[in-house]
Symmetry: C2
Subunit: 578 residues, 2 copies
Amino acid sequence: MDKILRINMGPDGAPSVKEEGLGDYAGLGGRGMTSSVIGKEVPADSHPLGAENKLVISPGLLSGTAAAMSGRISVGCKSPLTGTIKESNAGGQAAQVMARLGYAAIILEGKPKADTLYKLIINKDGVKLEEDNSLKLLNNYELVDKLKEAYGEKITCMTIGSAGERKLGSATIAVTDMEVRPTRHCGRGGTGAVMGAKGLKAIIFDDSGMKMRAPKDPEAFKAANKRFVEGLRKHPVTGEGLPAYGTNVLTNVLSEAGGYPTNNFSKGTFEGASKISGEAQAELETQRGGSATHGCHRGCIIRCSGTFNDKNGRFLTKQPEYETVWAHGGNCGIDDLDAIAMMDRLDDDYGLDTIEMGASVAVAMDAGIAKFGDAEAAINLVKEVGKGTELGRILGSGAAVTGRVFGVERIPVVKGQAMPAYDPRAVQGIGVTYATSTMGADHTAGYAVATNILKVGGDVDPLKPEGQVELSRNLQVATAAVDATGMCLFIAFAVLDQPDTFQALIDMLNAFYGLEMTADDVSELGKKILKEEREFNKRAGFTAEHDRLPRFFITEPVAPHNVTFQVSDKELDNLFNW
Amino acid sequence: MDKILRINMGPDGAPSVKEEGLGDYAGLGGRGMTSSVIGKEVPADSHPLGAENKLVISPGLLSGTAAAMSGRISVGCKSPLTGTIKESNAGGQAAQVMARLGYAAIILEGKPKADTLYKLIINKDGVKLEEDNSLKLLNNYELVDKLKEAYGEKITCMTIGSAGERKLGSATIAVTDMEVRPTRHCGRGGTGAVMGAKGLKAIIFDDSGMKMRAPKDPEAFKAANKRFVEGLRKHPVTGEGLPAYGTNVLTNVLSEAGGYPTNNFSKGTFEGASKISGEAQAELETQRGGSATHGCHRGCIIRCSGTFNDKNGRFLTKQPEYETVWAHGGNCGIDDLDAIAMMDRLDDDYGLDTIEMGASVAVAMDAGIAKFGDAEAAINLVKEVGKGTELGRILGSGAAVTGRVFGVERIPVVKGQAMPAYDPRAVQGIGVTYATSTMGADHTAGYAVATNILKVGGDVDPLKPEGQVELSRNLQVATAAVDATGMCLFIAFAVLDQPDTFQALIDMLNAFYGLEMTADDVSELGKKILKEEREFNKRAGFTAEHDRLPRFFITEPVAPHNVTFQVSDKELDNLFNW
């Protein structure tokens, strides 16, 4: 992982491919790499779809090694959805494979002159960038099938569907999983639109013939990894809850806690919750010959995913995540798991962020375009995006645009990005993260739900403002660091509760790179990343006034607790205090 | 003009109407009134379509008097298009009539609970607010005809068409002219959407039985007004150019100067300019039995408007303004005056800002939705807005949203509002105004074209950065003050060139109110208004980084001069230096 691949798509001359050393970017990985490159190389006032924006793809520091859980790949750019800097990471196979192929980053820059699509093929023999207009407007499932036919079954793909080609604000970059299906997505912020604007339809990796990355101190590395895995296995969330029911284990929990945004954030409990819960989902999956426990990449030991078959026992989609089930489910008043799974499949196929899409559909329902609870109408709305109709383009542009176009007042977004599946009034810690994250509303940026609701890493009352800023701050710093390692964020449950599991992670990094980092150094790394991101956003025009929730969260209490968001502006402004 | 009418539309209880004294708002009029009320009473982070936003309507300080040119009415709110404070003013009869009825401001607040439309009737007998759902989705021409049937031929109306009811970002408030036609519009920033969100379809004024407002010193007032009128008559722009050809006299001038944005700001000259010029338009109007010289309100002596009849000699629309002819003409590559007049009529009828609509259509053309130059396609696109289709809603939401939805990179907006008919690269002074105005891109906020191109009020080279900030600053200050008086901005041509005409205006104000204002006091008034507006915008999250042109104006030179916008960020940040 000592090379950078820099690809200039034009417009002057034909696209060019260049390999570079790491230079200034040595020692960086994942979000640390993507945010550093964007911060240094992209003018903050450039148009997200223009030649000056860049798309940076980077595996984490531990990706491609034997470290468990190290399969996250980061994608960074200036976001077409939010206008902020953006890092969006996904599981699947790409991080491991790209790292083994030796690349710390792919930097895609420029913009092709002509309306031409390209594919990028990277294997042990080198790198090829080829025109391929036969891929035009293919969606992810068909596209990946076609690429498998051409390049064999051992490939790993990063692709965009029709949504990315149409440059929609909700467009994702799909990453294939162990079964070479496009089920894992860099979901948030429209990274797929940037890839589309650059004219790149697919990256095809093949790491056949490449070796696992070797640690500086193999013995110490192996020992640390063993302790790390043991720690994950013994924690109730990573060892039991997630493997058994996946992330959707949260549906009942959040609805019972009154923090489950229902019908476009108009109440905090959903009467249909049990019908779409992780428990119900796991049972249905098993019944139909699918699986409720499955990893999304080599080296995953939590295995929070699964396989969702249709009524006839045929593969429909991977196990929909909690946030997806919420977005297309309770947030739209829908309690039908088959309908939700169908929308998950369509989103994956077109290449759409399930959270943003569900939020858009809910806002459209608030405008009267369809009725809350009407699953068939919701599926048809998602299909509009696939067809590329005007209505589809509106919805695919995200909840903020949908609200603008239909004149809706209740638009649950921060910095243009839709809020995920936790009401910030009933889970105030996550409200702080939504408001202040450098990424727009993003639960993964500082998952205070862990401490507010699951009581992991302490216990902070979710309904009160006290302690939320400190909680979110610590989590945002830790998350930024984790996002640099390539580690799945779910390790945080064990790392937060078990000091030795945290130490094992640091020991792994030290053994691999021959370093002597301490916990403080990890924290400093997180702070450095956040600082770079904040500086980019400031240059792009973002101020304290943008670190706020939409006003209805302050003025309208949400049932059943009848609370509003109580954390003061002054406290929010004190989050980034370094 | 010593009363304020405060109307609460709900949602708690039935709408209520209350008369108040002027209180803190004594001595204010027009933009001075609207910006002061919005600045003091509207939370800067409120949703523009929500109950917390207010719509303020205010005649100018000299409206309703015998002062020539005093017929501008200001409407203020937080803008749904830009998110900034907004003042949009129009001619027509409303300012004179409302002022004679004694109201310095109508403040519309709250939001009705039910989906109900109201009309407000104000005459010598008092004020009535009535439900009238029979007006639903009527467009302005049919609506005004219906109101005339009910309330007689002597009324003056302020109305919204279907666009305002649909809460579109380009929706206007129409003001009827001397012929009781809805041809004058508070065009910019979506004021019509705010009126729509408040459920108010129409205000019907009737000043029968009311007297002209009386000055404190009638003799001095009369004498000053006489000097003022003489000044306007002797200046070549206000005495000759505007009366003969209207504002459209600028088409040939700007195209020859290379500052006429053509095909969505991709070049600065339009080969079809002469076919849609003011000269051609005046000839056609006269030929068809219309008129090329006509006032839009009682007391207008410049008479820059006209009557545009169709091929059969029947009234189609008022003489389209230069910016309208540009927006629907050259900016879309269209050189057909009949097509442009048809779009002007449709915009007036649906209640749409012609500048924003033309810009949206041009951005859609850039996305390939229609071809530049295809007049029939352009008309059909405008008709989509009238039908309320999804495509229509996109276009009616403005150029920024249209660009987002269709993935277009070239979007000529500042703070979400489309630039008018002057390329900021070839007319750099207006570029400074676009960038820094409190209103988003707005030529009327500081019309540097006067000095850059028409050589009125001095001579500043339009292609160079030198002197532009000072020019725009002085004009923005003066304009804010003029917008408080109710005076038509076109008086500025004479006022800038002829010190005695400026003095006559001050003398009029002094004689009317018994004051002893100097030119410096007028300047202070302008500065105070701008400061209030800037403070609102700052609270709403706007920073120096928002006082910028889109990046393509900096990176792409425009033909024929092959210049980019050269005024530095540092200079722009120095504009508001008090």
